[in-house]
């Protein structure tokens, strides 16, 4: 079918992605875009072992992903594209044109302020999200399909935390 979800999630492949979104969206493949993981066989094996046997995982650096995305969009199966940070998604938006981005999980770290239960942002990251929106990308935060999507303005205003 296509890439059904473009998600920013610093945990990359984990329960919410594989089960929470994977089951209802009938996801058969995940495109994991991360420069570090894409160059580590060990990390790739780690993530492959986290998914059911029928689910494929493809690994790309950000630059490789830009050229590979059209192929995944034409794939007859349903897929999810994941990045671990906003900057990587920004590169994909610039290079491959993405209409909507899901902020799925950016967790607590020094310098970040809590905006939602599952979203903590630094001032730089806030600017990056605003920049995505300024380019016409629909940015919403939503950890799992059953949760209410939170619009960017509401997210940056503190959301529902």
């Amino acid at each position: 079918m296509t890439l059904a979800l473009y998600r920013i999630d610093d945990r990359l492949i984990h329960g919410q992605v594989v089960v929470g979104w994977g089951q209802p969206l009938d996801i058969e493949f995940i495109v994991l875009v991360d420069d570090s993981v894409a160059t580590s066989d060990w990390e790739q094996e780690l993530y492959r072992m986290g998914v059911p046997p029928e689910m494929e995982v493809y690994f790309h650096t950000a630059s490789d992903a830009i050229t590979a995305i059209p192929k995944y969009r034409a794939d007859p199966r349903h897929g999810i594209l994941l990045t671990g940070d906003i900057a990587t998604m920004q590169a994909l938006v610039d290079g491959a044109g993405i209409e909507a981005v899901n902020v799925g999980g950016i967790h607590s770290r020094d310098g970040r302020v809590q905006r939602l239960r599952y979203v903590f942002l630094s001032p730089v990251e806030e600017k990056q999200l605003r920049s995505l929106a300024a380019r016409g990308v629909k940015v919403t935060a939503q950890d799992v399909p059953g949760a209410r999507p939170v619009a960017l303005d509401d997210l940056l205003a503190g959301g529902d935390s």
């Binding site: 945990r11 089960v19 967790h107």
Partner: protein, 138 residues
């Protein structure tokens, strides 16, 4: 000695960390305590709100502080499982059991006389075998 149940855990009793989504760890350890009085052999770890690196650091620190070499987690794809697998990469004497359930932990806490890794692997088999389906056929 557990003050509520009066159960005395042997020095040879195996100990482990339990980690997972939501209240998984606290809930399972609470259930083990209620059933056996041996909940203090298990250390529940909450990873709420933590990023991947902090989950790994927290689990590693708890293992080192408590001298525990067994981790039970809930889901193969879960962040705790991923973090534990990274920790095991540099800890040859440790074992991870992913997909743990209550029967798994009940078997583990009674496995005196086995090493903790042996007890964990035995418990994993018991936990797997303890799942059954009843009622209407598919």
């Amino acid at each position: 000695m557990n003050s509520e149940s009066g159960v005395v855990a042997s020095e040879n009793a195996p100990r482990a960390l339990v980690a997972g989504h939501g209240e998984f760890a606290n809930g399972l350890v609470s259930a083990v305590q209620q059933i056996t009085g041996r909940g203090d052999q298990l250390i529940p770890v909450s990873v709420k709100d933590l990023c991947v690196e902090d989950i790994e650091n927290l689990l590693r620190q708890r293992m080192l502080d408590s001298n525990v070499r067994v981790i039970f987690t809930d889901l193969q794809a879960g962040s705790c499982t991923m973090a534990a697998r990274r920790i095991l990469r540099g800890m040859d004497d440790a074992v991870l059991i992913a997909g743990a359930n209550l029967p798994t932990l009940l078997d583990f806490v009674f496995a005196e006389g086995r090493t903790a890794p042996e007890a964990a692997r035995h418990a994993a088999e018991r936990g797997r075998a303890a799942i059954s389906a009843h009622g209407a056929s598919a």
